[in-house]
């Protein structure tokens, strides 16, 4: 990863020096050794801030929405999941492809930050759960590719061939309705509605979110189990078919709510009901829930 870091800095310097882009979005070291938060580099002399290490969790594609109406191009580093996020944003007509210089980097999986904090710098830190289950570690869309493409492709092929990991969802499906209700109520009772999950999510790209429409009465300001669950379920249903499994919602949640379990349940259902589908892998306008076809059977109508 050290080598990729040097290549990142080199390419960023070149793009900025030539004036091809105004800003490069990457990662830099944060307050603690296990944090590599987003970095925004706009001067060639600052490129040495950029790093690529085991903690570059942040999905940078969402930030591209901040540059939609600004002049000039933006370069961004994309791991596998970040590239799926970019595709979803394209699919949702949020971004123009030509405005962004995409620099793909292979991802060996990011490490669990909570465990890193617990085990210390010399500990044997496992990959984050979302990364253990990842099927697309390589960027699926890019203008440049850094690192060893052949080795990366081989690693990705093994992961892609594996069956999807749904054991946690299956465990939940075994619960009775009452047990499910109790489980999710207790999870969402502690939700503080900070909306970190929504704001970090690339599939949450509405111009105005339903939860910000305070005068419509869709959702009240009160924090209670009912409103919180309404928030959770509405968001889960809205990102269904567009969730690219970056797991950022769950990582960003300050209250340890297993948000990805809800998202994965919907991904599993979509796969069972509409055939195999991974969001953000292709940009072809054919979405399981967002695509209109007049030959669709409407048996329930």
């Amino acid at each position: 990863m050290k080598e990729i870091t040097l290549q990142m800095q080199e390419l960023a310097r070149e793009l900025l020096q030539k004036g091809e882009v105004n800003v490069v979005l990457g990662w830099e070291k944060g307050t603690f050794w296990y944090l590599s938060p987003p970095a925004f580099v706009d001067k060639p002399e600052d490129v040495e801030r950029l790093v690529y290490d085991d903690y570059c969790h942040h999905n940078l594609s969402k930030y591209l929405m901040d540059y939609r109406y600004q002049e000039g191009k933006v370069a961004v580093f994309l791991k596998g999941c970040d590239s799926r996020a970019f595709n979803i944003l394209l699919e949702d007509n949020q971004l123009e492809r030509e405005k962004y210089v995409l620099i793909g980097i292979p991802c060996p999986g990011m490490k669990d930050q909570e465990k890193a904090k617990e085990f210390g710098v010399n500990g044997d830190i496992p990959l984050a759960k979302k990364c253990q289950e990842c099927k697309y570690p390589n960027p699926l869309v890019y203008d440049y590719f850094l690192g060893d493409k052949k080795a990366a492709d081989e690693a990705a092929a093994t992961k892609e061939a594996k069956a999807k990991e749904y054991s946690d969802v299956e465990q939940m499906e075994k619960m009775t309705s009452d047990e499910k209700y109790d489980f999710w109520s207790s999870q969402y009772e502690r939700c503080i509605r900070c909306y970190a999950c929504r704001n970090v999510c690339p599939a949450c790209n509405c111009r105005e979110c339903i939860f910000d429409q305070s005068r419509t009465g869709w959702i009240g300001k009160a924090n209670n189990a009912s409103e919180n669950q309404f928030f959770a379920l509405t968001r889960a249903m809205h990102v269904a078919g567009r969730c690219i499994e970056c797991g950022e919602c769950e990582r960003a949640c300050p209250m340890h709510i297993p948000i990805m379990l809800l998202n994965k349940k919907l991904i599993k259902d979509i796969n069972e009901l509409f055939g195999e589908y991974d969001a953000g892998v292709k940009v072809d306008g054919v979405l399981p829930l967002g695509h209109f076809d007049k030959n669709d059977p409407e048996e329930f109508m």
């Binding site: 307050t31 938060p37 704001n199 305070s214 009240g220 924090n223 300050p254 340890h256």
Partner: protein, 331 residues
């Protein structure tokens, strides 16, 4: 000489106090620690400060203010029953005591008393607990807080590793200590030395310097990674903004007040559509200006206690100590 008890016998003290008070203790459930009503099966979390600050004990995230009935042109207002139960918080840390001092300024001074807050504050006794070690994101020392001696507690308890020592501070504290004195022994003790802070912030001159920095380019830079979520403000022990709303069903309604946050765009959205803080630059600037300049100007104290919760919980590591450093270094 100090009154002490072995740490493993602390539940006996809490049990005894629970006869007279609703005792709130630090406890952890599913990865989130907060002050929780004491019962025999609650597992105490005394190793580090709680994630959720005590502010919601005095200023709940959602609080019912009054009920009303609106029919034709008549309006009836019904006051809600007032809680009378005496409360006691065990294990509040120095940084969080400092946060109560900040909240007191807002809710009790300058000619306005918020009776919702005051009522809870008046019937809550505080037993502070000294810290043995700073956590990696703690920087209270830089904010003028002594992690081993809180200000404003009724009793200061000392973490003596295998024992807990108690020292009464107020008359109320003396009274409480007498209730539990049968369980306590008297001993000469040495308070363990506190470790070195991992995080520091040099706040000297920052409030004054910020007076001339409203239009500084620094804000456009530091805001870029902010997600504008409310995690930092909701885990903050001092952030105290709220919004008042009604829940109405037919003729009946309840007025509620709920935490709000300057990080949300909707927070400054005005009738007619204008928003004076339209982007994250203005919102991020407001958060740090409020903590480090406006509050000190109004109340002569910082609105940050160095508890480190926002540093731990910000999903993008927007670290207030790093911001303070940038302000110091800015030209």
């Amino acid at each position: 000489m100090m009154k002490i008890i072995a740490k493993e016998r602390l539940p006996e003290v809490l049990q005894l106090l629970a006869k007279d008070y609703n005792v709130l203790v630090p406890a952890k459930f599913e990865g989130v620690s907060r002050f929780t009503p004491y019962s025999a099966d609650v597992e105490l979390a005394l190793e580090e400060n709680v994630l959720m600050p005590p502010k919601d004990i005095f200023f709940p995230q959602t609080e019912k203010m009054y009920k009303f009935k609106a029919k034709d042109k008549s309006l009836e207002i019904e006051e809600l029953p007032v809680e009378k139960e005496e409360q006691l918080i065990f294990g509040i840390r120095s940084c969080d005591l400092k946060s109560l001092e900040c909240l007191d300024q807002v809710f009790l001074t300058k000619g306005y008393v918020d009776h919702f807050y005051k009522d809870k504050r008046d019937r809550t006794a505080l037993i502070a607990l000294s810290c043995l070690q700073p956590q990696e994101a703690c920087f209270c020392g830089s904010m003028g807080v002594d992690p081993q001696n809180g200000v404003g507690a009724d009793i200061q308890a000392y973490d003596l590793k295998d024992k807990i020592g108690f020292k009464a501070i107020s008359a109320k504290g003396q009274e409480i200590l007498e209730k539990i004195s049968g369980l306590l022994a008297e001993e000469e003790v040495t308070i363990p030395t506190f470790g070195e802070f991992n995080l520091k912030a040099d706040i000297e001159g920052v409030p004054e310097k910020l007076q001339g920095m409203f239009d500084h380019p620094l804000w456009a830079d530091i805001c870029r990674k902010c997600l504008n979520c409310g995690a930092c403000t909701y885990v903050c022990p001092t952030c105290h903004c709220f919004d008042i709303d009604s829940e109405v069903r037919g003729e009946d309604g309840v007025k509620i007040r709920c935490w709000d946050t300057c990080m949300f765009g909707e927070y400054t959205q005005m009738a007619g559509g204008h928003n004076p803080r339209p982007t994250k630059k203005e919102r991020v600037r407001n958060r740090f200006m409020h903590k480090l300049r406006y509050f000190p100007e109004r109340y002569k104290m910082l609105l940050c206690t160095g508890c480190g919760r926002c540093v731990v919980k910000c999903p993008v590591n927007l670290d207030i100590t790093a911001i303070i450093k940038k302000i110091k270094e800015a030209e």
